[in-house]
Symmetry: C2
Subunit: 240 residues, 2 copies
C-alpha cells in the first residue's frame, strides 16, 4: 500500500522536508491534500482524517504520514520513521538518534526562520508585525544563522563528510539542502554573506542538488515554488 | 555505567523533561553540570564535552545525554531513546512514534511558552522586549494555550485514559505534568481559566503528581524551583 503524506497544498512548508526524502528514495506515495476530490483526495479529506472520531491518536497539525493504520505526526518524527525504510538513515541504530538530534536542530532553525516574519503571533498578519519582524530578522541573520550553519559545518567536518553523518547520505542532508534553499530564497543578501564561512554546508547542498531523484523532483511540477505562504518568505525589507 | 545528563545548573528548562523521566524510573544517572568540579563535574565539564575535538557528533545545545560513547541531543530525542529503557514508552513499537509525535507537540508549546518573554530575540533582555512580550503572551493565552491543551485533552479522551497513551503511563505524561506546572507558575490567572475546559489534562497532572518517584523528586532539592532564568517565567504583567 502507498504511503500517504498529508500536508497543505500550495506551499512547501514543513511538508517539503518529508517530500524530499520520499522523492530521493523514489517511494510510492500519495499527497492526499494535493489530490482530486473526485478521487477521494484533497484538503477536505486531510481535514476529515484530523477530525476523525475513528482515529485513536489524531495529529495536532500537518504534516502527518499514514502508513496503513499508523498515523505519524511531526516532521522530524516522520523522517525518523521513514529513514530506515527509505534507506536514508544510518545503518547503525544508535546513530539514528544522532541523525534525529541533527534533524531536530534543523527543525529549531526552521521555526526561527518562520518567526522572522511572524514574531508576535501566527494569527496576526505580517503587515501588523512588520517592525517587530525587522528586529527579529536582524538578530536571526546576525546571530542565529551563523551559529546554526557553522554548527552544521562543524558536524560535516567532524564526520569526515561529504555528508552530515559521514560517507552515506541521510535524510538530514536533504533537510540541510532545503534549509539552504529556503534561506537563499528568503534572505538572498544575508545568506550570500553567511555562506562564505560554511563551505561544507554549501557542498552538502550542491551534492544533494546533483542527485538524480532530487534533480528530477525539483524540475517537476510536484515541487511547489517558494512563495509568501510558506515558512521561507522573501520580504526584501527583512533581508539585511 | 551511569547515564550522564548534561543540562544547565540553576534552572529547570528543557532538561526538566528528561529529569522527570529519570526520576520516575529511579534511574542511575549523574547530572554532570550540577556536580562538583573536584569530582570532575560542573558546567565547565559540560562545556568541554560540547567543544571536544574527540566527540564525532557534538550537540548544538544542552540538554544532551551520554550513554557510554553515544551522545544524544534534543529533549524529545533523549526521551525517545530513554523511554523503552526506563519502561516509560509504549510496548508496541509503532506506538512509540505516536508518543514521539505527542512529545514534539509538547516541545512546540514549550518553545512558544519561552517566546512569551522573548518574542524578538533570545539575545535581548526581557526588559528590551516587554511591550512585544505582552502582545505575544496575550495571543498565547487566548489562542494557543486553549488550542494545545484541548488537543491533549482530546488525546486522553480518545485513548480511553487515564494517560495520554491509554492505560499505561509514558514519558509524555510526565512532560504534560511539567507543562501544566510551568504554565501555572508563569500564568496563574490565565491558566486557572484555561484549566476549566481541559479536565482530562488536569487529571493526568494529578495522577503524575501522586506517583512515588515524582513525589519524592519534587520534594527533594534535586528539583530546582521555577525561576526567571527558565522557560516558564512569572512576569505578572504577561498574565492576562
Amino acid at each position: 500500500m502507498s504511503l500517504e503524506l498529508y500536508y497543505w497544498d500550495g506551499l512547501q512548508g514543513r511538508g517539503e522536508f518529508v517530500r524530499l526524502a520520499l522523492e530521493e528514495a523514489g517511494a510510492d506515495y500519495v499527497e492526499v491534500a494535493r489530490g482530486e476530490a473526485s478521487e477521494g483526495l484533497g484538503t477536505r479529506t486531510m481535514m476529515s482524517v484530523m477530525k476523525s472520531k475513528d482515529e485513536p491518536y489524531p495529529p495536532f497539525a500537518p504534516p502527518f504520514l499514514k502508513d496503513g493504520d499508523l498515523v505519524i505526526a511531526q516532521t522530524a518524527n516522520i523522517l525518523f520513521y521513514l529513514g530506515p525504510r527509505l534507506n536514508l538513515a544510518p545503518s547503525v541504530e544508535s546513530l539514528r538518534y544522532v541523525a534525529n538530534g541533527l534533524q531536530l536542530t534543523i527543525a529549531d532553525m526552521v521555526t526561527e526562520a518562520h518567526d522572522t516574519h511572524h514574531p508576535l503571533a501566527s494569527g496576526l498578519y505580517y503587515e501588523d508585525q512588520k517592525a517587530e519582524a525587522k528586529t527579529y530578522a536582524g538578530h536571526f541573520l546576525k546571530e542565529r544563522v551563523p551559529k546554526y550553519l557553522s554548527y552544521f559545518d562543524g558536524v560535516v567536518a567532524k564526520s569526515g563528510g561529504p555528508y552530515l553523518m559521514g560517507r552515506r547520505i541521510s535524510y538530514t542532508d536533504l533537510s540541510l539542502f532545503q534549509l539552504v534553499e529556503g534561506l537563499r530564497y528568503a534572505f538572498p543578501k544575508g545568506m550570500a554573506k553567511a555562506e562564505r564561512k560554511v563551505q561544507r554546508v554549501i557542498e552538502v547542498h550542491e551534492r544533494v542538488s546533483g542527485r538524480e531523484g532530487i534533480k528530477a523532483y525539483v524540475a517537476s511540477d510536484r515541487r511547489i515554488p517558494f512563495n509568501e505562504d510558506g515558512i521561507f518568505r522573501h520580504y526584501p525589507e527583512l533581508d539585511a
